[in-house]
Amino acid sequence: MKSSTRREFGCLTGAALLTALRPRLALGQAKARVIVIGGGIGGATVAKYLAASVTTIDVTLVEPRRVYTTCFFSNLHLAGLRPLEQLTHGYEALAKQYGITVVHESAETIDPSAKTVTLNNGSKLSYDRLVVAPGIAFRGGAIEGYDEAAIEIMPHAWNAGPQTRLLRQQLESMEDGGLFVLVAPPNPFRCPPAPYERASLIASYFQRSKPKAKILILDAKDSFNAQDLFQDAWNRHYPGMIEWLPAQFTGGVTAVDTKTRSVITAGETFKAAVANVIPAQMAGRLAHQAGLANQSGWCPVDPVTFESALQPGVHLVGDAIIGGDMPKSAFCANSQAKACAFAIAADLTGSTRFPAHLFNTCYTYLAPDDAFSNAISFQPVDGKLKTVLSFVSKVEESADIRRLAARAAEGWYDAFTHDVFG
């Protein structure tokens, strides 16, 4: 859609984005220091929007990895439809264009009372405000035998990167007629439609390359996100290929056996050719170390400023928070990050704080040319994030609408990752 741009108006280009927002430095003011821990979607967005909006704040982003591979669209890689390189983004623009100090170390501990962060290289950084975007961690012990070694045999592929590559390799070398078992996690978890999008796209790959293969989803739940849309698509595109078994049917997955690549439920054992085990989740490690998570395993926050309800001066965004009606999605993390960045900027500059407006937009593939979408807005109501308006695709949408959504999703990906990393 290159035909329609700002350029037609003659004087304005995309470069006007954000750079025009850059203020001059107020004279004689000491710079406030903000540290952002975690260079995923939420963390990178907070860092970028703070640095772009206020030059009187020094922004440091702490992220051990040199590049970030997006979880969203990684199911396309599993289906052989997108190289992982196209889903991988660096931090160069954040450093060079926005003047963010990017530190490629991991944050080991946070001391909220001393307002310091200790890195794994031993150095200590101090801050005026801290933003933690720790993402998710897996709950140990929920599935017997699913340990560090098992992850290399029966990958979760729920953090994109090497795990995604491993699962793709296993799917590629699987023989036609093999059984692919996907273990779907209990609520809440990162990206509610993603396990079922994964099954859909892998089915499209099997249909092309291994038409006798089967997919078995062993769910920890009795229903799932957009179930009507998925089941309609599975019947239309992949009749007889995908079987979904709810927890009430199997009694839930209790253990895995990596030697036989078996998934063991309360009632039955399923021997897989390839197994994808997505375990139960909680906030990332650092959230627990720093006392930011409550007994639920997730982090309670103020829904306006995203400041921790447990540790003043520390903000949290993204999958790790208790987000009320907001799902654990990259778009939500990005939206929360902007609200958080402007709340911090208003506090540190003594400016007026305006009410936050929060959104989710997401596209989900049912097949390479069949996608559905949703667009939801949220607002804080009585201390919780509540849905205000929502659009969700319907089962009866035409094939044309779905094809357009699949095309729009590609544009969404480019624009969205540019907003975060570009």
Partner: protein, 108 residues
């Protein structure tokens, strides 16, 4: 800050029952409200906070704008040509100032 200038690109004629494309932009610095002047006082926020397009007095496209919006906001959308008449475009700024343009459309 220079005076905000709104502009639109709209066809002057369209066939009845067909969609036509509308492109709009307003050159506007979008003061963030996060800057200080030389005396250290906060410069109040001044952004375009609303854009509305009316087609013969009916609202056909409306957008609320908030923080994190870029300078010089650009919108492109499609409208269905139903009858000849007037398109009104209005941009509302923090503080109450309004910028407006009108456009005549012949539908045949």
């Amino acid at each position: 800050m220079t005076t905000p200038t709104p502009r639109v690109i709209v066809p002057s004629a369209a066939a009845k029952g067909e969609f036509f494309q509308v492109k709009t932009i307003i050159s506007h610095g979008m003061e963030t409200g996060l800057r200080h002047d030389d005396q250290g006082n906060v410069i109040p926020r001044k952004i375009i906070n609303k854009f509305v397009c009316r087609y013969n007095d009916s609202v056909v496209f409306s957008v609320d704008l908030h923080e994190a919006i870029s300078a010089n906001p650009f919108f492109e959308f499609s409208l269905l040509a139903t009858e000849s008449g007037r398109l009104d475009f209005v941009w509302e700024e923090d503080g109450g100032d309004v910028y407006a343009l009108s456009h005549q459309l012949a539908v045949g």
